[in-house]
């Protein structure tokens, strides 16, 4: 696939890539950065060999890049130190909570196997059926469902204290 064809193919998926990144990161600028990063990786990948399933490849790379970015941001100064004015705003608690949730969730998803993560994102965020996911990933439908439940179980274990805290409120 030449560069122009690869670029055109990426354009078909650009908004979806952005949405995946935005769900992981919660901010437009970060999501745009990841989208751009993924677009370049896609082009370079296509020069070597074109992935069989573009959407699956892009989903995997996007989630991995977004996870890296969440980790980088988590190690940066806390939100309160970076933007005290934002914390003074009415929605500060929500913002902090959303930020923490994304960090926790990204960390939890990082622990999943590649297959588990892809199935979870494809179903919960993309709303794809298990039949479609299985076809994309080249696995049997029951296997996709098993990956889904194993992924949820693993995330649940990682997020248990968060969920218990929400239940207690």
């Amino acid at each position: 696939m030449d560069d122009a064809a690869a670029a055109r193919e990426f354009e078909r998926h650009r908004l979806q890539v952005y949405r995946w990144a935005l769900r992981m990161l919660g901010g437009h600028d970060d999501a745009m950065d990841v989208t751009q990063d993924v677009s370049l990786r896609w082009l370079i990948q296509c020069r070597r060999t074109q992935p069989d399933h573009a959407q699956s490849w892009l989903r995997r790379v996007t989630i991995n890049r977004a996870t890296d970015r969440v980790r980088q941001k988590a190690s940066s100064p806390p939100l309160a130190e970076r933007d005290p004015e934002m914390l003074a705003a009415d929605r500060s608690d929500d913002l902090v909570e959303q930020h923490e949730l994304r960090v926790r969730l990204a960390t939890a998803m990082e622990q999943l196997s590649d297959m588990q993560r892809q199935v979870l994102v494809a179903h919960v965020w993309d709303g794809l059926t298990f039949a479609r996911i299985a076809a994309d990933l080249g696995i049997a439908v029951p296997t996709a469902k098993t990956h889904y439940i194993r992924a949820l179980s693993a995330v649940k274990e990682q997020m248990r204290d968060w969920m218990d805290d929400k239940t207690a409120r």
């Binding site: 560069d3 122009a4 670029a7 055109r8 650009r14 908004l15 952005y18 949405r19 935005l22 769900r23 992981m24 919660g26 437009h28 999501a31 745009m32 950065d33 751009q36 677009s39 370049l40 082009l43 370079i44 949730l101 994304r102 969730l105 979870l120 179903h123 919960v124 965020w125 298990f130 029951p142 469902k145 098993t146 889904y148 439940i149 194993r150 949820l152 179980s153 995330v155 649940k156 274990e157 997020m159 968060w162 969920m163």
Partner: protein, 153 residues
């Protein structure tokens, strides 16, 4: 409980959580849940986890901004390649290197001196001067050229 969930039961739970069961199968599974409280708790936990993951959703506003930002970004990029506008180059420098435009002044000068010779060569030269990987620079140039053609009247 979760590690011990057999694959066949995973399939049932997945279908139950995602509304993939017909009425008869759902009724039978719910009857089983009513008789096995430990399983019911596990399924409830999984549903809450599913809801939590799903709650991390993009709202409509950023999605609309993304659509606008995308075309603006590439349009500026393409224009920068053609006429070497400092603002546009600054925008590109920030996008590529994550540095603010104010730190891109040397790059702007390069752009000014090279713009007008060849639009794609100018972009490549600009990006190479930011220490961007040359492969990435060339890739960006291709995207810019395509975006430019798309937006040409």
């Amino acid at each position: 409980m979760n590690d011990a969930i057999p694959d066949a039961l995973c399939e049932d739970i997945a279908d139950y959580l995602t509304d993939g069961m017909d009425a008869g199968r759902r009724q039978a599974f719910e009857l089983r849940l009513s008789r096995e409280p430990e399983l019911a708790r596990a399924v409830d936990d999984l549903r809450r986890t599913q809801d939590l993951v799903a709650s991390v959703r993009a709202n409509e506003l950023p999605a609309r901004r993304a659509a606008a930002g995308r075309s603006m970004s590439f349009r500026r990029f393409a224009v920068a390649a053609m006429v070497g506008m400092s603002f546009c180059i600054g925008y590109v420098v920030r996008d590529v290197t994550h540095r603010p435009p104010s730190q891109g002044q040397p790059v702007i000068q390069v752009a000014r001196s090279t713009a007008g010779i060849d639009r794609e060569a100018a972009v490549i030269q600009v990006l190479q001067s930011t220490n961007a990987d040359s492969d990435l620079a060339r890739s960006l140039a291709v995207f810019a050229a395509i975006a430019h053609r798309k937006h040409e009247p």
